[in-house]
């Protein structure tokens, strides 16, 4: 039986014996399902951006509410936090736009070069801009702590500390997985020649 597998022609025969599985009945059904998937991805993306934007709105609301107290330190801290988040949102939006502009109908080698440039750009975001933005966020939040300490009960103060720094922890957890996948893809793309 092994001899059946010996020639490439047999492999080709085997290849063509593969059915297409659960093929949709029409182009309409596949486009409908694909459009749903696309919308789900978009919802997920905009949902993430929405959460970050909402956080900024809440921070701005705090700023408006508390601006009469310890204005300089508080303003500075809040300003740093807002700037770090706005820059992060801007970078994600820019990345999404760049990704959507990748031309998938190019020849493989040309396309992979284009994709490599894109993932190098992502690498810069992950390893240069993101740590910097983390730093700015931490400094900003730390500057708010004295005001929080004087303005809120010890229980709420504890909650603010936990959520403020904890936010970074949660964000880092999800970001780490994404970075790993992207860097693996970049390494794979570099093997294309």
């Amino acid at each position: 039986m092994c001899s059946v597998m010996n020639s490439f022609e047999n492999l080709q025969e085997l290849w063509h014996q593969d059915d297409v599985g659960k093929q949709p009945l029409s182009s309409e059904s596949i486009l409908k399902k694909a459009a749903q998937n696309h919308r789900a991805i978009q919802r997920n993306h905009w949902g993430t951006l929405g959460i970050i934007s909402l956080t900024i709105v809440v921070l701005l609301a705090y700023f408006i509410w508390l601006r009469s107290y310890s204005l300089s330190v508080f303003t500075c801290g809040l300003g740093l936090m807002i700037v770090s988040m706005l820059v992060r949102i801007g970078l994600e939006g820019w990345s999404l736009s760049k990704f959507q502009k990748l031309q998938k109908d190019l020849p493989l080698i040309e396309f992979s070069q284009q994709a490599i440039r894109f993932y190098h750009w992502r690498k810069r975001i992950h390893f240069q801009f993101t740590p910097l933005l983390y730093g700015v966020y931490i400094v900003g939040f730390t500057l708010l702590v004295p005001t929080f300490y004087t303005q809120f009960s010890s229980l709420f103060f504890g909650y603010l500390l936990l959520s403020g720094y904890g936010f970074l922890g949660v964000f880092t957890f999800f970001l780490r997985k994404k970075i790993k996948a992207e860097m693996e893809l970049l390494a794979y793309l570099k093997k294309i020649d």
């Binding site: 039986m1 092994c2 059946v4 597998m5 010996n6 020639s7 490439f8 492999l11 080709q12 085997l14 290849w15 063509h16 014996q17 593969d18 297409v20 599985g21 659960k22 093929q23 029409s26 182009s27 309409e28 596949i30 486009l31 399902k33 694909a34 459009a35 998937n37 696309h38 990748l102 998938k104 109908d105 190019l106 020849p107 493989l108 080698i109 040309e110 396309f111 992979s112 994709a115 997985k177 790993k180 996948a181 992207e182 693996e184 893809l185 794979y188 793309l189 093997k191 294309i192 020649d193």
Partner: protein, 161 residues
Amino acid sequence: MDIQVQFDHLFQTHYPKVYRLCKGYFQGDHDRASDAAQEVFVKVWEKRETFRKEANISTWIYRITVNTCLLHLRAQNNRKTVRTEYPVTVPEPTSDDAFELRRQKMYACIQKLDPTGKIIILMVLEGEEYSAIASVIGTSEDTLRVRIHRIKKLLTQCVQS
């Protein structure tokens, strides 16, 4: 011809090829192949103005297919790995399972090729012309011919082992 009718014809004609290529690329993973094939046709639809002007529509669809599969790697870590290994001792085939087993072995051997070699051999298995494959990869036909010879040898040796 109405664009939707044209698209439907395109879909019916090319879906099996696109699906098989994706399935080979993702080591026989039906779900991931279906997702990728779907994405390919969405892209084709989105670029419908382009495909109306394309002289060689098959090559154009293949380019979208290989590039889509390439970036589908992004989601790989979030999914369960499917059939990454095949049994070292192949049992005597007595039913349809034997076919499936051999196909899985072929998929596993394809995964061992370098990324470009993997895509090339998937199109060779499909029976595409070398000129079309060269156009999809973006290399010369002469270079490709040498490469295909080497890849075929590697693949058949692996499947026999």
